[in-house]
C-alpha cells in the first residue's frame, strides 16, 4: 500500500523488539466477541488512477457553477478566486500543520490568524474578532449563546428574514439549552419592524444584513431599541463582500457580528468547508467562543504570536467553557486572508461595486420580463423576484435551458404559501452581460 512505509521485515523486527509474536497480541484487550477475523465487506485497495476514475465519474454527474450562467446564492456565493490563493493554501507547511499549540514552530499559522482577526475586525467595524468558527450558521448559534451569557438573560428575538438554515441552527441550540426564542415570520418586502418584540427579558435581537431576500438596511435604530432594553444586537453578514459597500455593522451599533466568509478565498464546495466569522466589542472578549490569537514577545524580546485567553476554552475549562469548539476553520481562514490581502482596500471595494452593479443590471433585465416583479428597493448582489409560476418549477425549467437561476424560497421555507412564487437571485463578478441576457431570455421563455 503506497501510503504505508513499514515493510514486512520492519514489522517482524518491531514485533520482536516489543516481544510480541503477532500484531494480534497487541489487540488482546479487545473483547473476543468484538474481534474481527477477516476483512470488512468493502472494496480492496486501489491505485491512484482507479480512484481518480471513480471519483471523476461522480463529479461528472454534477453541473459545476463555472459551466453555466450561474445565479445561485442564499448564503453561499460563486466568486473568482485568484490562483495564488489555492497555490499558497496547499503549501505543506500550512496544509499539514496542526493547531498552533507550539508557537515557536507555528508562527506562520499564528501570524496569519492575527492578520485574519484584524481583517475581520476592520471589515465588520468591531473591536475584536476570533480565529474563526465552523461557518456562518454555527457562528450565529454561538453568538446567541454568548449574548445569553453576557446579559444573563434567556430570550432571543430572531428576524424572520434570517436565513432559515441559520434560524434552524439557533432554534436547535435554544431547544436543547432550554432557552426562549421568538421568531418573526418572514417579510419578503423587507419592512419588518423587530423593535417591538424586544423587552426586558430579551438578551439579543438577531438580524441579517443583507437579509435572505437581499434587502439592505440601516440597523442603527434597531440597535438603539435593543440597547434601551439592555439587549444586544447581533448582526449576521451572509456575504462578506457586501461590506465593501455597506456600512459596517459595528458603526450601526452591533454588539456581536457573525458572518459567512466563504466568498473570500473559498470555493462553493457544495456547502463546506466554509469559514465562520465572529467579531464583538472588546468588553465581551472573555465571553467569546473559539480560539483567539494574540501578540506577545519571546525570550529575546522579539514579537511573536500565541493562542491566548484560553481559560475560556474547553481544554482548560471543560464543562465551564464558553463553547465546546476545538477544531475550527484554520485553512479556510488562510484562504480568506490571502484573497483579501490580494484585493487590498482598492480591490475589495471595487469588487463590491462590480457585484452591486451586476446585480442592478440583472434586476433591471429580469424586471423587464413580462410577469416578473423585483421585490427589492435595496439590495447588494442578491434580490428576490416574484414570478407568476411557482419558483421551484421556474428554476427546474431554467435548468433545462442551461441556466442555474437562483434559489426558490419555497426550498428554504416549504409550507409557507407566501414563498411559493419567490426566487432569490444572485449576481457576482463572474456573470457577464451574455449570462444576464441568457437568463432574461430563458426566463421569458419559461414564463411564456
Amino acid at each position: 500500500m503506497r501510503y504505508l512505509p513499514l515493510t514486512k521485515d520492519d514489522r517482524a523486527q518491531m514485533l520482536a523488539a516489543i516481544g510480541a509474536k503477532s500484531v494480534d497480541e497487541l489487540f488482546k484487550d479487545v473483547p473476543e466477541a468484538a474481534r474481527l477475523g477477516g476483512l470488512i465487506d468493502l472494496p480492496r485497495r486501489q491505485g491512484e488512477m482507479e480512484v481518480e476514475r471513480q471519483l471523476a465519474a461522480m463529479a461528472g454527474k454534477n453541473i459545476a457553477a463555472s459551466q453555466v450562467p450561474f445565479f445561485v446564492g442564499a448564503g453561499a456565493y460563486k466568486h473568482h478566486i485568484p490562483a495564488t490563493v489555492d497555490h499558497l493554501i496547499q503549501r505543506s507547511e500550512f496544509l499539514t500543520s496542526y493547531t498552533p499549540y507550539q508557537p515557536e514552530i507555528t508562527q506562520g499559522t499564528l501570524q496569519y490568524l492575527f492578520e485574519f482577526q484584524t481583517q475581520v475586525a476592520l471589515l465588520t467595524g468591531m473591536e475584536v474578532a476570533n480565529a474563526s468558527m465552523y461557518d456562518g450558521s454555527t457562528a450565529c448559534g454561538e453568538a446567541v449563546l454568548m449574548a445569553h451569557r453576557v446579559t444573563k438573560r434567556k430570550k432571543a428575538v430572531l428576524s424572520g428574514n434570517l436565513h432559515p438554515h441559520y434560524q434552524d441552527v439557533v432554534a436547535n441550540l435554544s431547544d436543547f439549552g432550554s432557552y426562549k426564542l421568538v421568531t418573526e415570520p418572514p417579510c419578503p418586502k423587507g419592512t419588518e419592524g423587530l423593535a417591538g418584540e424586544i423587552d426586558e427579558e430579551t438578551s439579543c435581537v438577531v438580524v441579517q444584513n443583507p437579509d435572505v431576500f437581499g434587502h439592505v438596511r440601516d440597523l442603527s435604530a434597531l440597535a438603539e431599541a435593543a440597547h434601551a432594553k439592555g439587549a444586544l444586537m447581533i448582526v449576521v453578514v451572509p456575504e462578506i463582500v457586501s461590506l465593501g459597500l455597506i456600512t459596517p455593522p459595528g458603526e450601526m451599533g452591533a454588539d456581536i457580528v457573525v458572518g459567512e466568509g466563504q466568498s473570500l478565498g473559498n470555493g462553493l464546495n457544495f456547502g463546506g468547508p466554509y469559514v465562520g466569522l465572529f467579531a464583538a466589542k472588546q468588553k465581551f472578549v472573555r465571553q467569546m467562543p473559539g480560539r483567539l490569537c494574540g501578540e506577545t514577545v519571546d525570550a529575546e524580546g522579539k514579537r511573536g504570536f500565541v493562542l491566548t485567553l484560553s481559560t475560556r476554552e474547553q481544554h482548560i475549562r471543560r464543562e465551564k467553557a464558553t463553547s465546546n469548539i476545538c477544531t475550527n476553520s484554520g485553512l479556510c481562514c488562510l484562504a480568506f486572508t490571502i484573497h483579501l490581502s490580494l484585493l487590498g482596500e482598492e480591490g475589495y471595494t471595487r469588487l463590491a461595486r462590480i457585484n452591486h452593479a451586476n446585480a442592478v443590471k440583472l434586476a433591471d433585465a429580469l424586471g423587464a420580463v413580462p410577469g416578473v416583479k423585483v421585490m427589492n428597493e435595496t439590495f447588494f448582489n442578491e434580490f428576490t423576484i416574484e414570478t407568476p409560476k411557482p419558483g421551484a418549477e421556474v428554476i427546474d425549467a431554467l435548468v433545462e435551458k442551461g441556466v442555474l437561476g437562483g434559489v426558490p424560497l419555497s426550498r428554504l421555507m416549504p409550507g409557507n404559501d407566501a414563498m411559493k412564487n419567490l426566487i432569490a437571485v444572485a449576481s457576482t463578478e463572474v456573470n457577464s452581460d451574455q449570462d444576464r441576457a441568457a437568463y432574461a431570455r430563458a426566463l421569458k421563455e419559461v414564463l411564456a
Partner: protein, 526 residues
C-alpha cells in the same frame, strides 16, 4: 588568504574565522526570514487583483451605503506571495517531519485527495443547486456514509457535523431527543464522563444542559467499572467514553460498561477520535455504542490545515437513528434526494446542526483515502499505527517512565517521573525536542497522569524514522538525567522564535493590529 579558482571566485569556506553571527542586521537568519505584518507592508492604492471599475450606475443601497475607508493594506501579487511563503517557512508540518501529537493523528495527507476535492463537479457546486444537477455530489455523500456504516457496524450516520466537537454535540442531542421521546428529558440530566476525557466531552454535555459527573480511572488507566456502576441511576442520560481511551488503551470492559448503561436506561456516547487504532479490526457497533463521531481529519487523513477544517460525522444505533438531524440523503426511484425538511421524509429529526450539507470538501478527501486503502489497507494502517506506538513504548520504557503496562493502542503514554529531581519538566523536555527538529508530543493530557506525554506516531513513519525519533528521545532523557539542564530550560534555541510569553499575552491581550501600536520586530524596520 583564500585560494582562487580560474574565475577568481574565492573557494575557501571561511571556517577558520571561528565566527558565528548571533545578530544580523535584518533579523533574518538565512532561510528564516523575519516577516512584518501584512498591514505594515501597505502600498496605498496597490492591489494584487486587476478589476475594471464598473460603468456609472445608480446604487440601490438605500441608507446603508458605506462611508469612509476600511483600512486594508494594498499589495501587489508578488508581495503577497512572498509574505505567505515566508510565513509558511516558520511552520512545522507532517510533510516536513514526524508529528507525534497524541490524540491528533497526524498522518500523511495524500495529495490525490486534494486533487479530487478540486474537481469542479465537487469543488464548484452550490449546496442549493437543484438536486437533479448535483446527483454525483449526493452519491458521494451516500457512498462515504456507506463506508462509515460498514467500518463501524452501525446502521445510520449523520453526516453534517463540522468537526469532532460538533459531532459530540450532534450525538448528545440525539440522545436528549430519544429521552424526550421516552418522556424522560426532565429526569435524566446527568452524564458520566471519565476524568481522562478530552475537554470537548464535558463542554459538549454542559452546552445542552447536562450536568457532568466524572468517573475515576483505575491505576492501570482504565475506567473504574465498579465506581462507574455505582454512579448509574435513573437520572443518568449517558456515558461519554473515549475508546481507545486517551491513555492509549483499549477499554477492555467496554461491553460490560455498555450493557450496564443500557440496563440503567442510559445511552453510550463513544468519542471516536482514536478510531485510527481499530478501524478495520473492531466495529464500535459490536461494542454496544449508540453514537460515535469520527474525526475525518484524523482517521481518514483530511489535512488539519493549521487547526481545521475538520468533519465529524456521527454514526448512530437503531435506538438513536430516527432522531438524526437534517439533512440526509435517500436513494429512491433511481435518483438521490437530500431530505432537507422534516415534512419530506420519515423520522423525527431533532433539528439542524448547520447550514447546508456538511463538510463536502472533507467528504471527498476522506472517500478518496478510503478507496485508495480499501478494507485491507485500512486494517493494515490501524495495525501499523498500533505496532509503531508499541515499538516506541517498548523502546523507551527503560529511560522514560510509562505509567501503564503495554500493550498500548496507537499512542504511547509517558509521565514525568523519569524527570524527577532533574529540574527538567515535561514542558522543557518537549521544547528541547524542537531543537532536535521534532514537533513535541501532546503534553499534560490526559489529566490523569502527571506531566503526561502522549506520543502518537501514526502508521505513516518508516522504521528508520521511528528509530531516529527513539534515539533522540533516549538522548534527551539521558541528558536530562545527567543534569544538562541548559539544554532544556531555555529551549528551543534554534526555532524561529524562542519561548513566547503567554502570561503577557493573556494579561494585556493584543488581538489585532492597530496603526502605530504593534512594533515591528526586526532591526532594519526600526
Amino acid at each position: 588568504m583564500n585560494s582562487m579558482n580560474a574565475k577568481g571566485r574565492p573557494t575557501g569556506t571561511g571556517a577558520e574565522t571561528g565566527f558565528t553571527p548571533h545578530e544580523t542586521f535584518t533579523g533574518n537568519r538565512g532561510l528564516v526570514q523575519e516577516e512584518p505584518l501584512i498591514f505594515e507592508l501597505d502600498s496605498p492604492g496597490a492591489s494584487g487583483v486587476d478589476l475594471d471599475e464598473p460603468e456609472e450606475f445608480a446604487p440601490r443601497l438605500g441608507a446603508a451605503a458605506r462611508q469612509g475607508r476600511i483600512g486594508l493594506p494594498g499589495l501587489s501579487e508578488p508581495e503577497v506571495m512572498r509574505h505567505y511563503v515566508r510565513l509558511s517557512q516558520k511552520n512545522y508540518a507532517i510533510d516536513s517531519g514526524l508529528y507525534p501529537l497524541g490524540s491528533c493523528t497526524m498522518k500523511h495527507n495524500p495529495r490525490l485527495n486534494e486533487k479530487m476535492a478540486r474537481l469542479p463537479g465537487f469543488g464548484d457546486v452550490h449546496p442549493l443547486q437543484p438536486q437533479q444537477t448535483v446527483q454525483g455530489a449526493l452519491e458521494l455523500i451516500d457512498t462515504l456514509a456507506h463506508w462509515l456504516k460498514e467500518l463501524t457496524g452501525m446502521p445510520a450516520v449523520a453526516m453534517s457535523p463540522k468537526a469532532g466537537a460538533h459531532g459530540e454535540l450532534c450525538g448528545m442531542m440525539a440522545i436528549d431527543a430519544a429521552l424526550r421521546a421516552r418522556g424522560e428529558e426532565g429526569t435524566r440530566k446527568r452524564v458520566l464522563v471519565p476524568e481522562s476525557a478530552h475537554g470537548t466531552n464535558p463542554a459538549t454535555a454542559a452546552q445542552i444542559g447536562f450536568t457532568v459527573d466524572s468517573i475515576p480511572a483505575t491505576d492501570d488507566g482504565h475506567v473504574d467499572v465498579a465506581a462507574f456502576k455505582a454512579k448509574l441511576g435513573p437520572d443518568v442520560a449517558a456515558i461519554m467514553l473515549t475508546n481507545p481511551n486517551t491513555c492509549g488503551l483499549f477499554e477492555r470492559d467496554i461491553i460490560e460498561i455498555a450493557d450496564a448503561v443500557h440496563e440503567a436506561g442510559g445511552y453510550f456516547y463513544c468519542d471516536g477520535a482514536n478510531f485510527n487504532a481499530i478501524a478495520g479490526r473492531v466495529r464500535p457497533g459490536d461494542l454496544g455504542v449508540d453514537a460515535m463521531h469520527i474525526n475525518l481529519h484524523k482517521t481518514f487523513s483530511t489535512p488539519h490545515g493549521g487547526g481545521g477544517p475538520g468533519a465529524g460525522p456521527v454514526v448512530l444505533s437503531e435506538a438513536l437513528a430516527p432522531f438524526a438531524p437534517l439533512p440526509w440523503i435517500v436513494h429512491d426511484k433511481g435518483a438521490y434526494r437530500a431530505i432537507e425538511h422534516e415534512s419530506e421524509g420519515t423520522g423525527q429529526p431533532f433539528g439542524r446542526m448547520t447550514a447546508f450539507h456538511g463538510q463536502m470538501g472533507m467528504f471527498v478527501r476522506a472517500l478518496s483515502y478510503m478507496l485508495s486503502h480499501g478494507a485491507d489497507g485500512i486494517r493494515q494502517a490501524s495495525e501499523d499505527a498500533v505496532l509503531s506506538a508499541n515499538y516506541i513504548l517498548a523502546s523507551l520504557k527503560d529511560v522514560m517512565s510509562a505509567p501503564y503496562e503495554g500493550p498500548c493502542m496507537h499512542e504511547a503514554l509517558f509521565d514525568d517521573s523519569f524527570l524527577k529531581g532533574t529540574g527538567v519538566e515535561t514542558l522543557d523536555f518537549a521544547k528541547a525536542m524542537i531543537d532536535e527538529g521534532y514537533h513535541p508530543m501532546t503534553m499534560y493530557f490526559p489529566l490523569v497522569v502527571h506531566g503526561a506525554m502522549l506520543i502518537e506516531p501514526t502508521e505513516s513513519e518508516s522504521k528508520d524514522s521511528l528509530d531516529l525519533f527513539i534515539a533522540t528521545l533516549r538522548d534527551l532523557a539521558e541528558s536530562a538525567k545527567r543534569g544538562e539542564t541548559e539544554r532544556f530550560s531555555g529551549a528551543p534555541y534554534l526555532a524561529p522564535r524562542r519561548r513566547l510569553d503567554e502570561t503577557q499575552a493573556a494579561r494585556k491581550p493584543i488581538l489585532r493590529w492597530q496603526h502605530g501600536r504593534n512594533e515591528p520586530a526586526s532591526k532594519a524596520a526600526e
